[in-house]
Amino acid sequence: MSSYRIVLEPGSANRHYWRDLWNYRGLFGFLAWRDILVRYKQTAIGIAWSVLRPLLTLVVMAFIGWLFDSQLPGDVPRLLLVGAATLPWTFFSTAFSESSNSLITNSNLLSKVYFPRLIVPASTVIVCLIDFLISFVILLVLMAAYRFVPDIKILLLPLFLMLALVTAMGSGLLIAALNVKYRDFRYVVPFIVQFGLYVSPVAFSSADIYGSDRIPQALKFIYALNPMVGVIDGFRWCILGGQTILYLPGFLLSVGISVLVLILGIRYFRKTERGFADVI
């Protein structure tokens, strides 16, 4: 006889939720594995897409930065500056949009089997993370081409990757849960991603904003509220070394927002997930 006792009552939060989540780690792995296997099935160039997509964004963004003559810190080549931002941005935008839709695309699972629903958006984010790691090749090639040697700070990169993960996961969970009930978010998500590319320091750098006399203080504050500002600034600071400076108040604000969004996302998700099967 098993000691696995479950009590089902309306509104009772599942006391074993986190234990369940751990027990279902196998499913988590399998879902991620499935998405990776399926991702580039029947494509001619396969996994090269995970490099090609950020590469094209990188070229376009570098061109725009050059066109508007945004500042270059020290002697950092423009491609490297933009590259250090394009990779986390691409990770965020794909992870955010795919996890937002993940519950809908897996609705057949949600309505037929039980598992902690958190697994679905989380495994989607992990798949995008793997894409990100592959696309990191771009940056390595660029560094080699420019004979650029990063300093010791690059060892802190995993911390900032973590921050990117938290940002993508938090916003993804929130929108995924909302999307189950309000399909409006299917149209909101592409807009956020498109808009985000312009307000995040991808083509330009945060120094352009914070150092500008033309931009009022209030706008600088609003700019710093964007959690991706913190992520991208952090990436640049790690990868490009002492050449870029980290504007600390703005950075901390971004980090705070990221963590807040994650907490909000998890709480809203947990609160609504028991009703997912009824409305999806």
């Binding site: 006889m1 098993s2 696995y4 006792r5 479950i6 009590v7 089902l8 009552e9 309306p10 509104g11 196998g26 499913l27 792995g29 399998f30 594995w33 499935r34 296997l37 399926v38 099935k41 029947q42 057949n108 699972l109 949600l110 309505s111 037929k112 089997v113 039980y114 598992f115 189950v180 009930k181 309000y182 399909r183 409006d184 028991r274 009703g275 099967a277 009824d278 409305v279 999806i280």
Partner: protein
């Protein structure tokens, strides 16, 4: 031994129905509009909503090792009950205690991905159903052998025939080893041979002392597999107890609702005679929704004659659902005067196999048709609660007619 493994108390599941066929998901716009409206007028938006109790105060308990058949007509709440027990959706009221690992099989092939190969799908589906990687690996060969797909293991399942697909999906599910197995109507897939194999597998699962909850419309399957039964009707638990009793109750319950057909009344230009209603009965005159296979039955038709006629005939025909006529019987032609009449056609000679057949009614006068009702009534022959009509009948699927021909074996040496 008899310790309850599942206890269900006062279980209620409420859904809110939105009328005017609003989409199942809400748009933010609607919510905002509703909010705005209720801001101005306090009690308006409720008008379009209606509560619907999919389950209404259901309580029962299941002992370890019980095989419980859950039966009831469509919309009785069977699937909702299984969904709550498998934790897919939560109850609105009540309390359920489950002591054991639950695996549920509400659909064959949940999570199968068409682009993945058979091998990959076995692992994926197994893990979705709650098996660990090692567990799947150890049963892998058994699963493949059961599904009979050895040659196509590395083919994407989108290239599988539907039969192969279903076999593979069921094979994975059949090798689950939870303490409690919850199965929704999944045996209705695949060909007859595979259905038998599935049922056999389910029997052996049950034989290992595991607790099984099984929903089906196939009374023979339920009776073979289950020792206890639950009968649901419109969200309420009607009865529970030994399976045979519950099945009998179900058939009785059904009979009052579908044994009788009332024909539409023709107001404009009624024909000289028209049928009012039709009822299927046993020889004693009690209504029967489902006729036990091999049992005699009769059809009682009430009709009205408006004008006197010289050669009135009423006829009844039986045809398959695909409109293959099987038999037609006519009353003797006779003169008739206006009034209300009844006719009874008795069948005690030809035994049809299990299934649903169309009953066609026709009224005529001297060869001229007065009324013809081809698609109004059906008769269902069921093998539930049947006494075998003839000990020689091996199974009911061997032909449309199950009357046996006289036969004798002579020794020739």
């Amino acid at each position: 031994m008899a310790t309850p493994i599942i206890t269900v108390e006062h279980l209620t599941k409420r859904y809110v129905l939105r009328h005017q066929q609003a989409p199942r998901y809400t748009a933010l716009r609607d919510v905002l509009a509703d909010k705005a409206r209720s801001f101005f007028r306090s009690a308006s938006p409720r008008l379009t909503r209606e509560e619907f109790l999919a389950l209404d105060d259901v309580g029962f308990s299941v002992d370890a090792g019980d095989r419980v058949g859950i039966i009831g007509r469509n919309g009785a709440g069977k699937s909702t009950l299984l969904k709550i027990l498998s934790r897919i959706t939560e109850p609105s009221k009540g309390r359920i205690t489950i002591d054991g690992r639950v695996a549920s099989l509400l659909e064959v092939g949940t999570g199968f991905h068409p682009e993945l190969t058979g091998r990959e799908n076995i692992f994926l589906n197994g893990s979705i159903l709650g098996m660990g990687r090692a567990e799947i690996a150890s049963k892998f060969d058994e699963i493949v052998a059961f599904a009979e797909v050895e040659k196509f293991l590395d083919t994407p399942v989108k290239r599988y025939s539907s039969g192969m697909y279903v076999r593979l999906a069921f094979a994975v599910a059949a090798h689950l080893e939870p303490e409690i197995l919850i199965v929704d109507e999944v045996l209705a897939v695949g060909d007859a041979a595979f259905q038998r194999k599935c049922l056999g597998k389910m029997e052996s699962v049950a034989g290992e002392g595991r607790t099984v909850l099984f929903v089906s419309h196939q009374m023979d399957a339920v009776q073979r597999l289950c020792n206890k039964g639950l009968l649901l009707h419109k969200g309420r638990l009607i009865t529970s107890g030994p399976m045979q009793q519950v099945v009998d109750r179900y058939l009785q319950h059904q009979s009052s609702s579908t044994a009788e057909v009332v024909f539409p009344i023709l107001l404009d230009d009624p024909p000289n005679a028209h049928a009012r209603s039709l009822r299927i009965e046993n020889p004693e005159g009690a209504p029967l929704a489902e006729v036990p296979v091999g049992s005699p039955w009769q059809v009682r038709i009430a009709f009205t004659v408006e004008k006197p006629m010289e050669g009135f005939v009423i006829a009844i025909g039986i045809s398959t659902l695909l409109d293959l006529p099987l038999r037609t019987s006519w009353s003797h032609a006779r003169p008739i005067s206006p009034g209300r009449y009844e006719v009874v056609f008795r069948n005690d000679d030809i035994h049809l196999t299990t299934g649903t057949y169309k009953l066609v009614v026709g009224l005529s006068d001297q060869g001229r048709s007065l009324q013809y009702l081809p698609d109004q009534a059906t008769i269902t022959i069921s093998d539930a609660g049947a006494q075998v009509a003839d000990a020689r009948i091996v199974n009911y699927k061997s032909g449309m007619l199950i009357n046996q021909m006289p036969s004798s074996i002579h020794r020739m040496d």
